[in-house]
Every structure is written in structure tokens, then in C-alpha cells.
Amino acid sequence: MVVGDTMTTPNTNKDAGELASELVEELSDHAELSKDEIEQQISKLANQYSMPVKEAHRSVRNNLMEKYDIGDGDVDLGNQEVLVGEINQDEQWVDVTVKVDQLWEPKSDSVGQVGLVGDESGKTKFISWAKSDVPELEEGKSYKLTNVVTDEYQGDYSIKLNKTSGVNPIDEDVEIGENKETMSGAIVDLQKGSGLIERCPEDGCTRVLRNGRCSEHGDVDGVDDIRIKAVLDTGLSTQVVIFNAEATEEITDISLSDAIEMARAEMERSVVADEIREKIVGQYYEITGPMLGEYLLANEFEQTPQTHDAEAVLAKARSI
């Protein structure tokens, strides 16, 4: 899925020969090394001081980096390559393969560059400090960024480029996916504005009408639409979830034309919301989709997900 990257975290199962080949390959841009020689050095160190091969490899590698004056940022340090959407810890050293989505105007002279980068898992903020002298990123270009540090602020994660970070342009055009959230809970309420609604027909408006009026364009001939605004409740937190027409039909089996027909037959538009309420309130769902402001947009969902195993919960109960 990513660039040709043979270097991963040295595995304890690898023998000196394998580690030596990897090291030669890893440093090949900077030094002509003999695989046999390196292997010998690793083995000797490992045997002589009866240390794990992995440790011997590390030591040999550090010596070579010093000898050939190779900086940390110049090579792949074997950090974990992660997707930006997977970052959930502060101060982790990671590698990412991303496209620059946006560059923002730095608000302070100490900031070199700031903006958004993204990969298939979504987008995240990045920042580089002016004093770090990191090569500049270009909007729309894709890079493999090595040795970057994760940062957390109020639950949001970002990455920081530093002196040792590697900025390697790649030919691949990384596709940026949406930031997805998954939440599992019970639908405990339906909010106003669910069911058969009318939207403003003005170009680019689509506001939901109240009593036939658009807050921007006044009295208009509304366009019918169907949607759900539901409260998903985990028992510890709540989240308003929006189902658009397509998702509404999928979860309730009620299409827009069904809804119009139901409303016509009963001479009452609210029957649609009532029917939706009966179908989904009180049910458990696991819902996945992008966050839209404060709303979770339901792209995928599963009814009554098996999130609790009776045996496991029993064991937990008995352990207290």
C-alpha cells in the first residue's frame, strides 16, 4: 500500500544475516557497506557480550551512523508507519505517507509551516517550526514524512515535524479519505426536523423550511426530503446522528416517495417521523461516518452489534 519500505522494526526472530542485509540496504544511500562484514560485527557483538541480536544490531547501526555522519532524519528509523486516523497517543515518533491538503498562513513567526495533511484514514494538522529548518511542503503534493512526533490538544491529534524529520516527496498521489468516527449505542430519541421535511429550492441554499419559510429566502415552494436526526446514547455520552435520505431508507425501509405517499394518505406529514420513531428508537446501532460539525453522519450502520460477551462481562463482574 505504501512506498517500497523494507525496513520495519527489527524483529527478534531475525538472525544476524537478515538484520545485516537490512542495515546495508537502509544505509545504502550514505555508505557502501559489505553485508558479510556487518553480519560479522553483529554476530561477534552478540556472542561476545551475549546480548540479543537485536541489541547488537542497534549498536552496530549507531556506530555506522556516527562513522558516516548520517543524521536521524536521513534514514528511516524504523518507526511505526501509521495512518493519521490511527494516531491516538501523544508524543509518539511515527512515519506517515500523506498528501498536503491545505497550507495555512502561520500566525506566528516561530511557525515554519502549518496546515492539513491526509491519507486514506482522514486528515490531521501538521506544524513545523521555523527554527527546525524542515524542507517546505507543497500543497497537493504527496510525501513520506519520517520521524514526526504526534501531539495532542484537547483530544485532537496533530503531527509536528522536527529537525530530525525526513521529508521525502513521492510519486504516488495519496488519496485523502474522510475522518470517520464509529459509535455504538442505543437510539434514545428522535429530534425535531426528522421525517418528511421541506428544503429551500434556492440555488445552493437547501435550508430546512419552518412552516414553509426559509430563514434566508422567506416564503418559498419547498422541495421534499427525508432525513433522521436521532440521539445515539452510549450510557456515558450522547451524539446526534444524521441519516440522509439514502441512509434513512436503508435503516427504515421508507423511501422519499413512500414518505410522501404516507403523508398524503394521512393528510399529515408528521406520520413519517412517527413511523421512523417506531422503527429505530430503543434499538442499538453501531454507526460509522464522518463528523459534520457536531453531527455524526451515518454512512454505515449495524443493528444490535454484539459489543458485549456474556462470559467476559461475567468474568469482569466476578473479578471485583
Binding site: D233, T238, V240, E278, H308, A317
Partner: protein, 232 residues
């Protein structure tokens, strides 16, 4: 929209990030709820939310429950006032719906008991003539659900009850209130209730293999018999 709790920040660092200020619906077994008698507000504002103090150390302004609706009785004198008994593996929830809960009342009037239901509601306390404080629910939403949903609710409620029993941070506002107002709190009893509840779902699983089980009317003095089978 009417209840905007901007003044509500007296507590210590709790797990607060609750979307749009809506009160979360706690998962509580009947066994624990029947011991919850103390209510409080976090500000003097008349419209500030009222919380029921759970003995396991949490505040509840709203509950989500599931169980077997066994009986609906009109206990009103003039206007209709419906009492619903919703039975779970650890005891019975009582819910009351009158003219201000038209949707819930309409559901209860037409419900074919017994059936599994899920309900969102507000806890209400009431002092009986003999001085006992009784807890009931005022329904906001009620719907019929299937057995899988009820089972999931039991396991989820078990899980969250255990977490509440375990989390006994002494600085927590709710734990301080528990010490003050429930001096004889019996956490082992809630642990036992949790275990009974989980086991009831396991019995039901082994008995219902391959056949459709209907919920059975039970005497709530023996609530743990609820998981038994009763083919229509």
C-alpha cells in the same frame, strides 16, 4: 433546547464531554434504582436539571431501560394515568404515563403484554404514605424491542454498573454525596444483582437454541425466573 446548563460546572473533573449538553441516559438495574432516593441540583437555577443519585456513585437525569412489559393498569382517578411494570432480571421498574406523555400513554394502552420494551425516561422520586421513597420513571420514549436488544441492554447495564462500582474516586462529587446520603450503601448487593442478570441471559441462550421464545409473565417477587422459556 430549553434546558441549557451553562451554570453546571461545579463538579470535579468528570467524564463530561456530552454532546450538545443533552443529559446522558444512564444504564441502571432495578435493584440499584430502588435504593436511589436522593435527588439534587447542581445550581439554584429553577430550571437546572434534577439528578437522582445512584448508589454506585453517578448522577442520573435520564435512564434507558429494557425489560418485559408485564402489566399496564390505569391508576388515575379522573384522567387516565397508566402504570406500567417493566420487569428485568433484578427487579421491576415502574413507569407512569398520563396526559402529558401522550405518545407513551398511547403505546402502553395498545401494548400486548407481555412483550419486551425499551424505554427512555426521567427518574422521579415519590414519598409514600409510610415514609418510603419510591423511584419511578416518566417515559419520554417507549417502543417494543426484540430479545436480542433486551439481552444487549442487560449485558451493557451489567458492564456499566461494574465500572461504576469499581470507580470509587473519593474526590468525585457523586461519591462524596453517596457517603453522605447513603451511609449504608451495599455495593456487594449490586455486584450480586449484576451476576444474576448476566447469568439470566446465559440461561436464556442455552434454552432458546433454535426456537422462538416469548417473554413470560413473572411474579416480580421472583424476578430471576424471568429468563425462563414460554413458547406461545
Amino acid at each position: 433546547m430549553s434546558q441549557n446548563e451553562s451554570t453546571q460546572s461545579s463538579g470535579s473533573g468528570e467524564e463530561q464531554p456530552q454532546n450538545s449538553g443533552r443529559e446522558v441516559a444512564r444504564r441502571v438495574f432495578a435493584r440499584e434504582l430502588e435504593d436511589a432516593t436522593f435527588t439534587f441540583k447542581e445550581s439554584d437555577d429553577e430550571r437546572a436539571p434534577v439528578y437522582l443519585l445512584l448508589p454506585t456513585g453517578e448522577k442520573a437525569n435520564r435512564l434507558f431501560i429494557a425489560g418485559t412489559l408485564t402489566e399496564v393498569n390505569d391508576v388515575g382517578s379522573e384522567d387516565e394515568y397508566l402504570q406500567a411494570r417493566i420487569v428485568g432480571p433484578t427487579g421491576t421498574f415502574f413507569a407512569y404515563a398520563g396526559k402529558y406523555q401522550p405518545e407513551a400513554a398511547s403505546f402502553l394502552r395498545q401494548a400486548q403484554t407481555p412483550c419486551y420494551v425499551a424505554m427512555t425516561g426521567k427518574p422521579r422520586t415519590y414519598d409514600s404514605d409510610d415514609g418510603e421513597t419510591l423511584v419511578s420513571l416518566r417515559p419520554e420514549q417507549i417502543n417494543e424491542v426484540d430479545e436480542a436488544t433486551r439481552t444487549k441492554w442487560v449485558l451493557e447495564t451489567a458492564d456499566q454498573t461494574i465500572d461504576r462500582i469499581e470507580a470509587d474516586e473519593p474526590s468525585d462529587q457523586c461519591n462524596q454525596l453517596v457517603n453522605e446520603h447513603y451511609p449504608n450503601v451495599d455495593l456487594p448487593a449490586y455486584k450480586e444483582a449484576v451476576i444474576t442478570a448476566i447469568q439470566s441471559t446465559m440461561d436464556a441462550e442455552s434454552e432458546s437454541e433454535g426456537e422462538q421464545i416469548n417473554p413470560e409473565i413473572v411474579d416480580e417477587t421472583q424476578p430471576s425466573a424471568e429468563a425462563g422459556s414460554g413458547v406461545k
